[in-house]
């Protein structure tokens, strides 16, 4: 109090100055804490991305043979695939077809590869086992598929890119200690020597490989293991989530927020939705296993079940976020519409909903991105199985990107799959980044109207 017998204004000023100093110190301290927190967070993010990118990016480039493969007619002794002739009984055709397939099975396509390698390493023919360890085992099937697709290549020589074996890739990239003794190396001494020689000769090149994008997972031909199956599985599940969770969630939110009477039933529903959003996702997996697989008899490990489970998991998020968006629309807009004689539905559809669309889009993308990254519930409905094919429909066996990451990081060939895992993470992050950019773009588009 500035009582008259005080030292007057000067006394007050001194007091204020003293407190001002203290306040400024507090402010500076607070700002420093804030900057520190942001810096720590940025450093963590940078180290995370740094690790993932430095490990994952090299995996998109794989040791690849550039070989001239001669489709020697001596080795490939097979006629063209039989076709059904006019008047031929189906049974008869099947018999011919089976015989042809058996014949095809006996063709030694590995011999073609050994012949091709012999041109560069003459000793290859003498120890074919060591030679075949150079090229990943799936490639002789690739040769077979070429012959089946186009029998006219028999007798010709084609320059082909063939993936090196995963262990050769590891050896050449230095992802294994080269000084380890033979009994702890994954390749024989002979194979390692050849790999180094071929690499030096330019036969093995480090080339960008599409295998990781185009192939499904593989255990027999590790170098060719890819994400296509998991990617398709994730894509199908996302489609199901978007098609189901968004309309149901948005409609529920609109009803609850705009139309539902406020009574104990709606209160109960609201409490339940809020609680559902907090339920651990693995519980939704159990629910999915019990309801969709055991009760509805839907196939195990199928994207349809995964999509339904993720839909259940995403619904509360979409509903809550949409409701809060609707809550934020000023009531004056509703009053304005009702005031000129719009019905409640018209006021909602013409005015409230268009204003809420940016928020709803954000809610949707957050929900879908969360679903895309979810692993736990998928483990319980069999989606962690090893699936070596790309699903064609949501009812086919499949896995998902995060589950694929989980499976790969547990693979016993650590020094090859560490990079593969990071590469898969990069693909997943890229997908999420695309989704988020899409959300931002859509939001901007709708917001810039006014």
């Amino acid at each position: 109090m500035n009582t008259p017998n005080n030292k007057g204004y000067a006394g007050i000023e001194a007091k204020v100055k003293a407190s001002l100093k203290r306040r400024q110190r507090e402010e500076t301290r607070f700002r420093l804490f804030g900057i520190g927190a942001v810096l720590v967070a940025l450093a963590l993010v940078a180290s995370l991305f740094g690790t993932i990118l430095s490990k994952g990016l090299p995996s998109f480039w794989q040791s690849t043979f550039v070989l001239d493969v001669h489709f020697d007619p001596e080795v490939v002794q097979i006629g063209p695939k039989p076709v059904l002739e006019a008047g031929e009984a189906p049974a008869q055709f099947n018999e011919r077809d089976l015989a042809w397939q058996m014949e095809l099975g006996f063709v030694d396509f590995n011999q073609l590869l050994i012949n091709a390698l012999t041109k560069h390493i003459p000793a290859a023919a003498d120890s074919p086992r060591d030679a075949m360890a150079l090229i990943t085992s799936g490639e002789h099937f690739a040769l077979r598929d070429r012959v089946v697709a186009d029998p006219s290549i028999i007798g010709k020589t084609l320059r082909l890119n063939l993936l090196a074996d995963a262990n050769v890739d590891v050896w050449l990239k230095g992802n294994i200690d080269r000084s380890l003794p033979d009994d702890r190396q994954q390749l024989s001494a002979q194979t390692r020597e050849w790999a180094d020689k071929l690499s030096a000769d330019g036969v093995i090149k480090n080339k960008f490989s599409t295998a990781i994008f185009l192939n499904p997972d593989s255990r027999s031909s590790l170098a060719a293991a890819g994400l296509a199956g998991a990617f398709m599985g994730s894509l199908m599940m996302m489609m199901i989530v978007i098609l189901l969770a968004v309309p149901i969630g948005v409609a529920s939110a609109i009803y609850l927020e705009e139309f539902a009477p406020k009574n104990w039933i709606t209160d109960l529903i609201e409490v339940n939705i809020n609680n559902l959003a907090a339920v651990p996702s693995i519980v939704f997996g159990l629910l999915g296993a019990a309801v969709f697989i055991l009760w509805f008899k839907l196939p195990i490990s199928a994207p349809i079940v995964g999509g339904l489970v993720l839909t259940l998991m995403t619904l509360p998020t979409v509903i809550i976020a949409t409701r809060s968006t609707l809550k934020a629309i000023p009531p004056s807009i509703r009053e304005a519409a009702l005031g000129v004689g719009a019905s409640k539905v018209q006021a909602t559809m013409h005015h409230v909903l268009p204003l809420a669309i940016p928020g709803i889009l954000t809610a949707t993308i957050i929900g879908v991105a969360q679903a895309l990254g979810e692993t736990a519930p998928l483990l319980l409905i069999g989606m962690s199985a090893f699936v070596s094919s790309i699903p064609a429909t949501p009812f086919d066996q499949s896995t998902a990107l995060p589950v694929q990451i989980f499976l790969w990081q547990g693979n016993e060939l650590r020094n090859f799959f560490e990079g593969r895992t990071s590469a898969a993470i990069i693909v997943l992050l890229a997908l999420m980044l695309t989704l988020n950019s899409l959300a931002i773009w859509l939001r901007r588009r709708y917001e810039t109207r006014w």
Binding site: K262, P330, S332, I333, R334, E335, A336, A337, L338, G339, V340, G341, A342, S343, Q346, H350, H351, L355, R449, W450
Partner: protein, 283 residues
């Protein structure tokens, strides 16, 4: 409390008693001219009674002002005339309100039609975040008042003219309504209300968010609109009530305290509470 209760009752019909001389309908108006009529209207928000049995009549083409301190129930009462209280959770209206003799709380009444007939302008200008044209055309389109584009153009133009906004916006009808100044926005809202051809316009403190110049424009507009519409205006501004209304009703704590010709209310109030309020002793 008791005193006001006795005061409220006799308001409902034109030929009524003792203390209502000042509340009588303007001379020359027969009871058939009654546009809006309320009798014993009570509004509840949950358990709380916000309006304690109000009765009054409003005749065609008059401007009725509702004045009173905050929380006196004047806005609540106003919003009962086009059933905007329906949108408030827990709000309940009892008593009888008629528009052209028809009970608007009758279950057979379509609230959408009612709101076309009884338009409303709100306290805060609330144009839709759409173009000026769309703002005005929206209601007319909803009710199918224009058969084609040229009809609609006409509706939009005449409505904007009536709201005194046409000259200012005729070159930028596609510009967003939210980009106008506050006063222009409020006139746009009036144009929007006018576009659906109402008989009655309810105005809930239409100038409370506007500066004096915009306010005076709106006041002039009210005088102009009176020729075609019955206007009920809620205001905190007593000068405004004095300037632009024919009759004034004073509310206090949910009671109708006094109703009468505006000149009489402001120069010769019959009630102590009215006098205290208009002389600024409270409120």
């Amino acid at each position: 409390m008791n005193m006001t209760q006795t005061l409220n009752v006799p308001m409902s019909t034109s030929g009524s008693s003792v203390k209502t001389d000042s509340g009588q309908l303007p001379a020359g108006n027969a009871s058939t001219n009654i546009k809006l009529s309320a009798s014993d209207v009570r509004v509840f928000y949950g358990q709380a009674e916000a309006l304690h049995g109000v009765s009054l009549d409003i005749v065609k083409n008059e401007v009725m002002a509702f004045i009173g301190p905050s929380g006196c129930g004047k806005s609540t009462f106003l919003r009962s005339f086009n059933r905007m209280n329906d949108t408030v959770a827990g709000a309940r209206v009892t008593g009888k309100i008629t528009v052209d003799g028809r009970d608007i709380y009758d279950p057979s009444v379509d609230v959408v039609l009612l709101r076309a007939q009884v338009g409303m302008v709100f306290q805060k200008p609330n144009p839709f975040p759409k173009s000026i044209y769309e703002n005005v055309a929206y209601g007319a389109r909803l009710h199918g008042l224009a058969a084609n584009k040229s009809d609609m153009d006409e509706v939009v133009e005449s409505s904007l003219r009536r709201a005194g906004l046409w000259e200012e916006v005729k070159d930028r009808l596609e510009a967003p309504g939210t980009g106008l100044s506050g006063g222009q926005q409020q006139r746009l809202c009036i144009a929007r209300a006018v576009a659906v051809s109402p008989d009655v316009i309810l105005m809930d403190e239409p100038c409370s968010a506007l500066d004096p110049i915009a306010t005076s424009i709106i006041e002039e507009l009210i005088t102009e609109l009176k020729k075609n519409y019955t206007i009920v205006i809620v205001t905190h501004n007593m000068q405004q009530a004095a300037r632009c209304s024919d009759r004034t009703t004073f509310f206090h704590l949910g009671d109708l305290v006094e109703i009468g010709d505006t000149a009489q209310i402001f120069t010769n109030p019959q009630q102590k509470r009215t006098e205290d309020y208009i002389t600024g002793r409270y409120g």
